[in-house]
């Protein structure tokens, strides 16, 4: 699985689901801390549409952690300051890097759940799609 997809599922999942997956890995493998969870900032780089140039809109609070699982490194960075979650995410990442992660089906289930939730929320917003009728005859109706 591509890292972006993996981290998207992990970031959007609730901390308890990630903790359950990480617990299984902790029981079966040796985990060593390389970098304790800590807070840091990520500067957000944007492209503006007028001149197509880049600018910084501001920073976002993130936390990061690096661990080793049976000697293979894994890491995670995620928005917010949930140290336990970021540590568990790093463990899952290391398990992927060592090719010992066996619960991908669970991640796919979470992904499916997340997509349905997002689409249901989207449905509520799409109900506000509007088609104004101009009362001015000079404005083309279509």
């Amino acid at each position: 699985m591509e890292k972006k997809r993996l981290f998207k599922i992990l970031a959007k999942a609730d901390a308890a689901s990630i903790a359950r997956l990480a617990e299984e890995l902790k029981a079966a493998h040796s985990i060593t801390m390389v970098k304790e969870p800590n807070k840091t900032l990520t500067m957000i780089k944007m492209r503006e549409p007028v001149k197509e140039s880049l600018f910084y809109i501001g920073e976002v609070l993130v936390c990061e952690a690096v661990i080793e699982l049976d000697g293979t490194r894994g890491m995670a960075v995620t928005m917010g300051d949930d140290f336990e979650k970021v540590l568990n995410m790093a463990i899952i990442d290391a398990a992927y890097n060592r090719s010992v992660f066996e619960r991908e089906s669970e991640l796919l289930r979470l992904e499916e759940e997340q997509q349905v939730a997002e689409q249901k929320e989207n449905a509520m917003h799409m109900k506000t799609m509007v088609n104004f009728n101009s009362m001015d005859s000079e404005v083309p109706q279509q």
């Binding site: 140039s53 501001g58 989207n122 506000t128």
Partner: protein, 353 residues
């Protein structure tokens, strides 16, 4: 007039800080951060934007700590932010791929992807709803979540930009993508003329009230007068950084809620044959600030005799921390300089008597 150092007052200052606790305590009920985050979210968005620091939880904490004072909360977040390292820079955020929750255009009735009103107070009657005084929060939440669950899922699709259509038709200038590293006003002193990136970063962090007043002055005649909102969109964008162990891969950090505005005006070309746009982008749902920013961007690009078109005037006076810090310094002891001023007034009166 300059302020002077004074000594003493230690006990009174300690008592004053203690007295703040009396004011902040207010009543016996705690103000939970989740409540501020979720039910005062527009205020939280404003604080995060003006602080240039996106963290709903810490913005809520700052508001709790200072009795909801906007400038104090911004100050607290800026101060906190300065204690943190900055280890990451995001990959370029693609706002065209935004998961839109609101999108309107005042320029065109029909836009590709549709006009989506989203959640807006624009069409509400501004009548105080006394029923909210004793609301059953649990029942309300359960009701809206049930409504959400009953929805038939609709796939999320990105909306093209309105300005892209005008660019395709040649009615608006197109520019090649520039990857020049942006100026960072948090690390470098602003110099004039300011690069475009410094202008946009400064405006994105500016005080909402300052920018709104500035844009209002342009609309009332002290500027280009009346732009059209080509597009206003609010939605979630993905924030990613490179994966440190393999930079061909990236890490998804989370989603950020942003509001973007593009305002259209006539271009400066001699024959007025083209349109051009101003751009605004802010954290959260703060659309008047985004529109005001787009107006300020266009006014500064145009240049001219009005305050809104003066780069130094606009970029040097809109920062919440700086403006409130300077105003606040007036409360410091100015005894010596005021005495000399008083002496001068007395002398003049004496001379005239």
């Amino acid at each position: 007039m300059a302020y002077v150092a004074v000594s003493g007052g230690k006990e009174a200052i300690e008592a004053s800080i203690e007295l703040l606790r009396y004011y902040r305590s207010g009543c016996e009920r705690d103000l939970e951060l989740e409540v501020i985050e979720e039910k005062m979210s527009l205020l939280v968005d404003r604080i995060m934007g003006e602080a240039g620091f996106y963290s709903k939880r810490y913005a809520a904490l700052a508001l709790k700590q200072c009795e909801g004072c906007v400038e104090e909360a911004v100050f607290l977040l800026r101060a906190y932010r300065s204690t943190l390292t900055r280890k990451y820079y995001s990959q370029v955020v693609d706002t065209a791929g935004m998961r839109v929750i609101r999108r309107i255009s005042s320029a065109f009735k029909d836009i590709q992807g549709g006009q989506i009103l989203g959640a807006t107070y624009d069409y509400t009657h501004r009548l105080l709803n006394v029923k909210l005084e004793h609301e059953d929060a649990v029942a309300l939440r359960e009701k809206v979540l049930t409504q959400l669950q009953m929805q038939t899922p609709v796939e999320v699709s990105a909306c093209p930009r309105v300005s892209d259509e005008l660019k395709k038709e040649g009615l608006m200038d197109s520019y090649p993508e520039s990857d020049e590293e942006p100026f960072d006003i948090t690390e470098n002193l602003l110099e004039f003329p300011a690069p475009r990136s410094a202008r946009l970063q400064t405006l994105a962090r500016a005080d909402t009230g300052f920018l709104s007043g500035l844009a209002y002055s342009a609309l009332r005649g002290y500027g280009l007068v009346h732009p059209t909102v080509g597009e206003l969109r609010t939605g979630y964008v993905e924030i990613c950084v490179a994966y440190p162990f393999d930079d061909t891969q990236s890490i998804f950090l989370g989603e950020l809620l942003l509001t973007e505005a593009e305002t259209f005006t006539e271009a400066d070309d001699k024959d007025k044959l083209k349109l051009t746009d101003g751009y605004g982008a802010v954290f959260g749902r703060n659309e008047n600030k985004a529109i005001a920013m787009a107006i300020a961007d266009r006014e500064l690009e145009h240049k001219g005799p009005y305050p809104t078109q003066n780069e130094e005037f606009v970029l040097m006076h809109g920062d919440s921390l700086e403006m409130n810090g300077f105003i606040s310094h007036l409360k410091l002891p100015h005894y010596v300089t005021f005495q000399s001023k008083l002496d001068a007034v007395r002398k003049t009166r004496g001379g005239n008597a």
